[in-house]
Amino acid sequence: MDVLYGDVQVIWDVSIHVEEGTIVALVGANGAGKTTLLKTISGIIHAKRGEILFSGKSLTRLKPQEVVDIGISHVPEGRRLFSNLTVLENLKLGAYPSRARPLFAESLERAFSLFPVLKARKGQKAGSLSGGERQMLAIARAIMAHPDILMLDEPSLGLSPIFVKTIFELIYALNKQKVTILLVEQNIHQALKIAYQAYVLKTGKIAISGGGDELLADPEVQKAYIGERWSKR
Amino acid sequence: MRERRSIIISALVTIAFAGVPFFLNVDTSYFAYYLFLSFCHIVIAQGWNFVAGYTGQISLCQNAFFGLGAYTTALIWLHDVTKTGYYFDPVVMVLSGLVPVILAVIIGIPLLSRLRGDYFALGTLGVQFIIQVLFLKGGAFTRGADGLHLPSTVFESMKPYYWTGLFLALFATAVVYFLIKSRAGLALRAIREDEISAAAHGIHVLKYKIFAFAVGAFLAGICGSLYAWYLFHINPDSVLNLNWLFYPILICVLGGNGTITGPIIGAFFITALFSLGTVYMAQTHPILSGALIIFVMKFMPTGLVGLKDRILSRG
């Protein structure tokens, strides 16, 4: 799959490419434009210039609901769950697109097996869940749409270290189930560890790009964003 | 240069209007009456324009301010407070403008500090209704539904009405014009565009909002005062009439919200529309007002004034 991009006031001439079945990470400091990029792909924002291609089809002018229909799901920053609705209702809504509805029972099973805690809490209002549970619900909800590509915006934000580990294991597991992942993260270490390919965004432009392992070892990246070298494992 | 030209044009237009009573018999000419009515509408419309067009706060209680002004004038007159015996006493007028201002500040502080946008509009609606009830229940002071009667014996001719109306229209426009140009005007526009960033720049948002609200109230009040002398019979039905609420809105929306000339053009247009309507299409013309608002809001949110700009930029 090709995802090409042009310039928006916040994003200047950015081009990224997401290969099917891989995990691609977008890292960078706050305000670098990562969220904007995801929002443009999912249709919330319109690009001033450039194209978004998905398996040869152009997504550039589509509305968000249409993008979901095509098979790209977006878990927004801050999760944005429907807190007044129950866990089950949130999941049901996740399967709203027509491509996902016939597969609802199956998707629900899959969601519950990946996230057993959600099964236990399925009748509870989403707003009453803990931070980590909410993140799981957000991801579960997104995969209810049976997406080909899952875009995650800062999934580890605000989570305790244990949960962070769990989340990343989940992301890895999902990928193993043939879901392509585009990951935006501040937690650079974790992100680069699981990424096949990564892009470093700096004030709206791509500063560095390369394989996950490459960048993990690259002292440039380490210096710029961590401030000091970290030991490998 | 453009400014000087507009000022010259405005001066000429004003002189032209001022000269009308010399050519027409103001007391019998319907056209003169139409002009007078338009002047009144301009005053109250500029007030609304300032609050809503420039500051973005939709106020739905202008008629309450208008009515307050009318009642104040009537009460002052009836109780002979100022001991002057003639109409259009500026002191009375100013007082009639100030009473609504006091109300505006009193209700503005709680309303504007807590309510945004359409919630604020709702709040002003509530205020307007409360005022109505208060007037109805005011006992001997306001004489309830019957209202107050001003002695019509002093009435000689329409001429002073006409000129005072013209003067007030000019005054209202000038007030809004100079306020817009001033620092206050800039602050208000900043608030309309982006309140949060305005506050971040140190603009005391609440103070300015109340100021705009008060100016709108003042203008509505003095218009009410003028109209009180025209009407002679002040009661809730006549001066708290919802028409005085909707006409300014319609005028500003049609003429061009947030411009100086918009309300003026709008006032002349709307007054003409409705005057002609009552004459020729007495039954159906009010429907137009509703249709007009919808039409304008959908297709010409910048109003007639904006339309001119848009046509020019196309060509």
Partner: protein, 297 residues
């Protein structure tokens, strides 16, 4: 005066309040749906209610159709009108940041409808008098007019219907989700216009039901709509601006407030008190009286 406060009187006032209040409640539910999804304060709701009352009146006087039967015609008509209004008037405005424009359009529509009614039906009050109009139940000495009771029934039934719809159907869930967070809803594949059309149509549909109820109970004139809309808004403020069930309860509370205040202080002051409480609610607790605070996820 307090010596007149018998049990019967208290109960009567109570009953009156509830019967009255459900009318406001129905109007408020419609407003709540429209506000919840589109954040538009649909001031024309009252005018629409009166409009449907007139339709019912027409059906009665011209064709002899019993007002309750006229529901069969009125409800589909109202749903149609609702979607029509949305598509033609509010679709673009709903997406705008500046909610003032949709407010003005709603005001314009209100004007339009009110004046249209004045032209077609004149400003004279109309009412529907059927064989059962004056029929009254008198359980334990309390007066319950038949028509009011039916109106209460209609209110409760339609409110329950709407609630069921919201809770049990997928579209209903979509409406609830969109009311909470429209942007996230679109990320679920929900088309905002669909949701809006549904909400708007139901809102006008409820106005249709309320209109028929109104026609059977009161005499009405074109200008009655505005006051009604205001009362509905007050009910909404009590119940919480986006809370559907709260809207009905809010209406009942308003009805009770009016019933008691009118009796003790007189109708005029009762109005003023309602408006005053409305202002206070708006300022202090815009979420209404019934919301348990839920954290945003």
């Amino acid at each position: 005066m307090l010596e007149y406060l018998t049990f019967g009187l208290i109960t009567q006032l109570f009953v009156n309040g509830i019967l009255f209040g459900t009318m406001y409640g129905i109007a408020a539910i419609g407003l709540s749906l429209i506000f919840g999804t589109m954040r538009i304060i649909f001031l024309a709701q009252g005018a629409m209610i009166v409009f449907f009352a007139y339709i019912s009146y027409w059906l009665f006087t011209l064709l002899g159709v019993d007002p309750y039967l006229s529901l069969i015609f009125v409800v589909p008509l109202s749903l149609l009108l609702g979607s029509g209004f949305y598509s033609s008037l509010f679709k673009e405005a709903a997406a705008l940041e500046d909610k003032n424009i949709s407010l003005l359009i709603a005001i314009g529509l209100m004007f339009l409808v009110e004046n249209l009614m004045t032209v077609v039906w004149t400003a004279n009050p109309r009412s529907i008098l059927t064989t059962y109009s004056s029929f009254v139940f008198r359980p334990i000495g309390i007066i319950i007019p038949f028509t009011r009771l039916i109106a209460l029934l209609m209110a409760v039934l339609s409110a329950s219907g709407v609630l069921l719809f919201l809770k049990k159907t997928l579209i209903g869930m979509a409406v609830r989700a969109a009311s909470e967070d429209m942007e996230s809803a679109t990320l679920m594949g929900i088309n905002p216009h669909w949701v809006n059309v549904v909400a708007f149509s139901i809102g006008i549909g409820l106005a249709g039901i309320a209109g028929v109820g109104l026609a059977t109970i009161y005499s009405f004139d074109p200008m009655y709509g505005f006051i009604f809309a205001i009362k509905a808004l007050i009910a909404l403020a009590f119940g919480g601006m986006g809370n559907v069930f709260g809207a009905l309860l809010g209406g009942i509370i308003l009805g009770l407030l009016e019933s008691w205040a009118s009796f003790f202080i007189g109708a005029g002051w009762a109005d003023a008190i309602s408006y005053a409480v409305f202002l206070i609610m708006l300022m202090l607790k815009p979420e209404g009286l019934f919301v348990r605070s839920v954290q945003t996820a």
